[in-house]
Each structure stands twice: as C-alpha cells, then as structure tokens.
Amino acid sequence: MKRVRAWMLRLAGVFSNQQRQREMAEEIESHVEMHTEDNLRSGMNREQARRDAILKLGGVESTKQAYRERNTLPFVETFVQDLRFAIRQHTKNPGFTFTAVLMLALGMGVSVAIFGFVDAALLKPLPYRDPGRLVNVTERVALIPRARLSYLDYLDWKKLNTVFSSMDVFTEDGIALSTSTGTELVAGTRVSDGFFRTLGVTPALGRDFYPGEDSPSAAPVVMLSYSTWQKRFAGRRDVIGQAVTLSEVAATIIGVLPQDFQFAPTGQAEFWTTLRASGSCEGRRSCHNLDGIARLKDAVTVQAALADATTIARQLELQYPDTNQGQGASVLALSEMIVGGVRPILLVLLGGAGLLLLIACLNVASLLLVRSESRKREMAVRGALGASRGRLILQFITEGLVLIAGGSLLGLAFAEWAMQLLARLIPADMLAEMPYLQGFGINLHVLAFAGAIALLAAALFSITPALRLVMTEMRDGLAEGGRGSAGTLWRRFGANLVVVELAIAVVLLAGAGLLGKSFYRMLHIDLGFQPDHLATLQIAAPDSSYSKDDQAVALARQVVTRVSTLPGVTSVALGSVLPVSFNGNTTWIRFPDRPYHGEHNEVNERDVSSEYFTTLKARLLRGRYFTDPEDGSKPGVVVINQMLAKQYFPGQDPIGKKIVHYDLDPKSMREIIGVVDDIKEGPLDSEIWPAVYYPLNQAPNPYFTLVVRTSQAPQSLLPTLVSTIHQIDPNVGTSDEATMTQRINDSQTAYLHRSSAWLVGGFASLALLLGAVGLYGVIAYSVSQRTREIGVRMALGAQRGSVYRLILTEAGWLTAGGIAIGLGCSVATATLMGKLLFGVHAWDVSTLAAVVAVLAASALLASYVPAHRAASVNPLEALRAE
C-alpha cells in the first residue's frame, strides 16, 4: 500500500517536477546556510565554513540529483523528456510533420473504415443463438446450386434427417395491405412454426408461433417486425390480439420481433406469417418455393449434414422419379449464405486499403530515414557527449511514436467520417438486404484493429532510423562533417523502399483499371433489349375478384388500354418477371416427338403480353410474336429464346415444333411460333438460360409487372401509373415503381461492382500520389546529397543535358523496378480477384499498358523537378558551399 502510494506520487512528480525542484533547491540552500553558520560559530572563516558545509553534504548537485531521482520515476522522466524533445523537433519541422501525419492518417483512416465493414459483415457473428450451428438447407439442381425446396420434399427432409435438431422453412410473400393511400404491396415472409425457435430468437412482445400453427387449418396469426410495429401501429402494446387484414385474410397479431432482429434473406419483411401450406404450388412436389434453415445437432459438421441430406434426396429421387430426378441437396453455413456474396468484394477492398496503408507507412519511414541521415551529426555529437546508443535509439522511437499517435487519432476521426459517408452512399433498399451493416461504426474490434496497425507502424518507424544508428559508426558522423555522398545505408535500403511503393501503386492502379473496365463492360453488355425510356410497376390484384382466368385477362387488357392513353406513352406491356432480375421461376419442358427419360429440361418461364417484346425493343430472329386475341380459347403458342433454340434444336428450325410440360398435361402443349434474341433475365453478370415466353392471356395471373415505353423521361410517369391503376380498382396493390435504368443501376450486382471500382480507384489515385511523392522525396534527397558531385562534374565540363540524364536515369531505374515488380504482382492479384472481373482477363494488356503509362508519366513529373534543380546547380556555389 505504502509502496503504491509512493509510486503514484513519483509518477505525479514527473509532471510537477519543476515546483519540487525549486523547493528542493531552497531546502538544500537553507541546509548549507545553517551548517555554514554553525561552522562560523565554531571558529572557521567564512570561506572555510561554506566549503565544509558543502563537502559534508556530499556536493549540492549530486544531492539534488539523488533527490530528483527519488522524486520522480527516472525512466518515465526520460520518456517525457524525449517526448518533449520529439514534439519540439516535429514542430520545428511543420512541413515534414504535417506530411507524415497526414499520410499516416489517410492510410489508417481508409483501412480502419474498410475494416469496419469487414467486421460488421464477416467477423461479427449473426445475432442468433449459437449462430455457428445454423445452416441453410436447400435442394440442388444442375443449373442452380441453391435451388429451393418443395413443400413435400421439406416435410420428408424434416422427418428423415438425422443431423438437424430442427429444420424450418421460409418464403417471401407479397402482402396487399389497405392503407390510406390505396392498396399497398408490402414485403412479408411466410415461415414454418419453429422458424424463430430454430434461430433462437424470442419475440420482444407477445408470443412465438405455437407448434401446428403453420397448418392450413390453423387460425391465421402474424408477427410484426419492430419497425412495422413502430411505423404502422405507433408502438402500442395493445396490438397483441388485434386483427390485421393481410391480402384479404384477417390475421391475429400475436407478437412483435425484437428491435435488433434481422434476417438478411428476406430483409425488408414487415409481416411474418405462418406457412399454412395451400394453393397449387405447395401441393406439388415439382413446385419449389421454399428456402430452408436448420440447426445442426451437436458434433455434426456441415459436411456430415450435407451427406445425410444428399442421401435423403437420393431416396426421394428413387421414390418420386417424375418430380425428383436430378434434385440433389445443398447444406451450407447460414453465414455463408448471407454474406458469401459480399465477402470477395470486401476482402479485395480490405486488401486495397491495406496496400494503401503500406505505401503511406513506407513513405513516412523513408522520410524518417532521410531525416536521420541529415541528423547524423546531431547524433554523433550527442553520442560524443555521453548519450548511450540505447538512449539515442529510444529518442528515435519516441519521435516515431509521436507521429503515430498524431496519425492514429486523426486517422480514427477520418475513419469515422468515411464510414458514415460510405454507409450513407448505400441505397436504402440495398441496406435492407444487408441488415448486418446496421449500427456499424467504431467499436472495440475496430479499435483493436487500429491499435494493431499503430503497433506495426511503430515497429517499422522505430526500426528504420534505429537501424541506421546500429549499422554505422557514430564517429563517422563527426568525421564526415555532414558532407559527402548519401549514406550507403540510404542507398542500399532507403531508395529501395520507393521501388516497393511504386510496385504497390502499380498493383492498385491495375486493380482499379480492371474493376473499372469490368464495370464498364457490365453496363454495356447486350441486354437483348433497350432499357432506356422504360417505366415499370409491380401490380397485385386481390384473389377475391381476379382469381378466375377471364377476370385476370380482363384486368390485364384494361390496364393496357388505360395506360396507353396516358400522354407520352408509346407502348404498354405486361410480364410476370422483369428482365435483369433473376434466373429462376423455371419450368420443366419436354418434346412430345422425342424419347424422354425423365430428365428435367429446366428453362426460365416468363408469361408476357403481346406487346412485351416490341415494348422492350427485343429482336425477333424467326417467326412471329403472339397477338392479344391469342388467349385460352386459341391453340397454345410459345416464343422461345435463342439459347433454347441452340440447345434443344441445334441445326433445326424450331418454328412449328411442339413443347409440352414434363407431365404431358395436354393443356400445356404449345407450338413454337417465334424465336427471340436472348434477353438478359438474370443479373448483369449472369449467364443466359434457355427461356420460354408464354402469352399472358393463356396463363393469366393476378400478379404481374407493368412495363411502359415513353417518349418523355420515364421517371415523371411513375406517379401517374400508380394513380391510374388505383383508378381502375383501388383494391389492386402496386409497389416498386422504378425506371428500368434505375433498376439495373441499383441492382446489387451493378452496385457492388460500381462501388468496388470507385473505391479501389480512389485507393489507386491516392497510391499514385503517395508513390510520386515518395519518388520525388528520394530523388530530391539524392540530388541534395550529390550537389557537390554535380558541381565537380559541371566544373569539369559536363553539360546540363548530361546532368538531367544522370538524375533521370536514377529515377528511371527505380521506376522501372517498381513497374516490373508491380506488373508481376498485379497479374497475380487480379487472378485472385477472378470472380469480380467481368469480361476482362487478369492480364488485360490495354489496362496494364495504361497503368504503365500513367505511372511512368507521374514518375517523370516527380523526378523532373529535382533533376531540373540539379541541372541548374551553379558549380562555383556548389563547391564553395563546402
């Protein structure tokens, strides 16, 4: 206890030392005076008396020294001294300090900000109980690695598996909700009764679904998402037990989900209802509309679960060959399903930010090295005056720490700002699909990361100048008298740092170039239609009035007629699924005139109105499109895409051929009347699948999408479209009004590619800037060290041209080295990015050539300035300066 007290006081003494020192001096002085007086009284003369007093004391200064050491903690005091000295050094050199701190802050800020995203998406566990044991369970077919489950298959899997402690399913559900502004379509999710128990989520209010409440006979119940509870029900606690009408069904509200609940696969769902399997789809084993989650039993691995699920799928294949042939199983970690898509991009961004940080650190290290060269004399003098080598190294370390502390604080502030900015740049819809990003920012993980970076940088900055001290004899510093050529250590080591910097800049530039080119390619791929001037709107008519075929057809015709009269509208069409959304909603076809072995010929099925292809401006390759009168009363017809023609009718004319549903349902017999050029149905980077386009009038549906081509800006038409539909029938729900270009540009694929291209582009520009600054620093320093040499050369008759050549050659070698190493590394890195590249190779020559040109030009610019200075050296002055 006493000891602790003493330590605390001593630590405090470090900072209040001066006051103590004064008191100490006074106390010693009074001691000496008293002793002197006593000595005088005993008969000594004045001089003798004082001398004896001081002698007896053992010297005034050494007493003070002993007292000081006792008063403070010597090593802390040394550190504080070094700190003061370091800060003084740095403030004396504001240019250097500003540059170094700024570079560090930049590198640090960018890395920390990106790490914030990586932490939120990849490191932070999902907010469920024991999330590592949760898996995504689905079927698997040749074309789709994660195909959905059919309801009957799900029941069998749930019953037969031995690896899951529980298994549940969910599926998106569009809900028509009557609101003050007409019928609105809102997102919902239907789940099996144990869904939340499997996740390990308990409601914030009310209760969870009871077992059996997902059966068709159970009373309809619903749970609200927290934000819906707040937004639509004003957060009232008495909503529990109330009824709410969802798509014409009265459901009882039984619970509210926790505020922090998130489920990325159906991110925006407002209402969570039970499955209540019904309708035509869930009665058929061939209709796959469910996605599965399950909790692994203890000690069961994902692989073991997959093996078990595959066995069950195999059994079902044998048992139900018609529907289940080729239906395998997929089991993967739930986190993989949720964040697997963004992982490669985030890792690339983190890598890019890390490289930028590395450049910044190397730049600062090389600046420090230059400074330590120019402080050779100072160090030599201090060494000669008795400073130990350790003490001098400590001084360098302290100076590095001061820079890092400044850089880190500024960097953290910058990171916080950058994170907020980046988060704001993510569109709201996209953010809803990535709920794991909610509430991310600077947290303990991020701080720890920043701390680790700071430590590494501290190590780097302490080692570089300290190395200089260790490797050179201090007295050389004195003997050389500060003149002469650049130190050998600098030549061997410092200059090479800049080669590494330039190489990294090449890697980042190449990465940015490739990503940018990928993005450009992606936006300019042939979609098979013209996306400009198209307005789109989702429409859902209530089943009660439109479930009969003729009702749905009548509604569709009315919508087309009414919308066609709107000003500026040139063409109106309806379709079941918009292009550039997803591959899926497939059907299995077969050819009645060919042998059949139960294989599933999986093709995209799209139900479209007669004007669909002309409205999209798709290209008809053969035959004709269907007409509006071709409805259920006329013979069945179909338009196929070119991929289907190529794949199933190679070398034949498909026009006039018949296709039929795999179960030979006579109603599904269709004659091929046209072949349309491939339309991109899936995301921008997806493959073209074979597709069939059925006339909407022969497959009517109360849910469809309106596509309108206009002569004006399509954006301005959107509100009119919504009100026109509500004029036809206020009970018809609408949602997702957007132009086609908006849809494409805001699609996740486009967004991820765009943002990664821009971010890596930003990193690359900064890297180029830092690399050029680094090169400039190296060449400028080299010139300053060689001023005398250049003076001598010029005095001996060297021309200015040859001086330019001398300096530019030096810069040229460094640049060439950087480019060569960088090119090698960038091809390797780009190969790692493989998945993110679209339509370009890792070794894309034009991109790499452009990178080389840009870097070479910047390097030339950076080294021209010091070369010019060298060439303007006045030989007389250069020599006189000695």
Partner: protein, 114 residues
C-alpha cells in the same frame, strides 16, 4: 577518534524516525546533526543522502513536511511524524531489538547455546 562506520542499509530511516519522535518537528540539517551526535560521532553521515531518504518517507506517508522558521530565524523545511510513521517506528524498533538480541546471542562467546 576511532574508525567511523557507514550507515547500514535500512537503518537510516529508523534513525530519522526516532530522531523526529524524540525532538519533535525538525529540519533536515537538525536531523543530520542529531543523528551524528546520538551516534557519539561514530557514524560518518553524508548529509546529502538524508534528503532522498526524507523524501521517500514522506512519499510513503510516514512523515509530513512544512516550511517554517529555524531557531536562527532562517527559513527551513520541518519534518514531523505522522500517525502511520509512529506505528512504523514502533514496529521497526521492535524488529531491530529482536534482531540485535538474536545476533548478540550468537556473538557472545560465553553463552552456552546448548
């Protein structure tokens, strides 16, 4: 005058405390002189070593200091014993007596150890 001994490690603090206890609040010079006198001038005390020792005792809370005026009207820092210092002194004195007693037994030639 015989050989003078140096101050044994750890005994200086005890001497300081005892001196202050006996004489009441006292300045450093006074303490130094008193220690020398009490030892019958057998101890060669380097006065300078007294001050770090005083500071240590003060940091540990055994003594407290205060500026005052000396008998010769000179400004000086006076040290006084705190309650905790008094306790420490009693404890140390006891320990010391015990130690010396034990040592005395060992060193006395006539004592029968059996």
């Amino acid at each position: 005058m015989g050989e003078k001994t140096d101050v044994w490690q750890g005994t200086l603090a005890l001497m300081i405390l005892k001196t202050i206890e006996t004489l009441g609040p006292l300045h450093g010079y006074g303490i130094a002189r008193r220690i020398e006198q009490t030892s019958g001038n057998l101890i060669s005390l380097n006065y300078g070593t007294l001050y770090p020792a005083l500071l240590k005792l003060e940091q540990e809370g055994s003594i407290a200091s205060e500026w005052g005026v000396s008998e010769n009207n000179r400004k000086a820092k006076f040290y006084r014993l705190t309650r905790s210092g008094r306790k420490q002194l009693n404890q140390a004195a006891q320990d010391w007596e015990q130690t010396t007693a034990i040592l005395a037994r060992f060193l006395s030639p006539t004592e029968d150890l059996a």
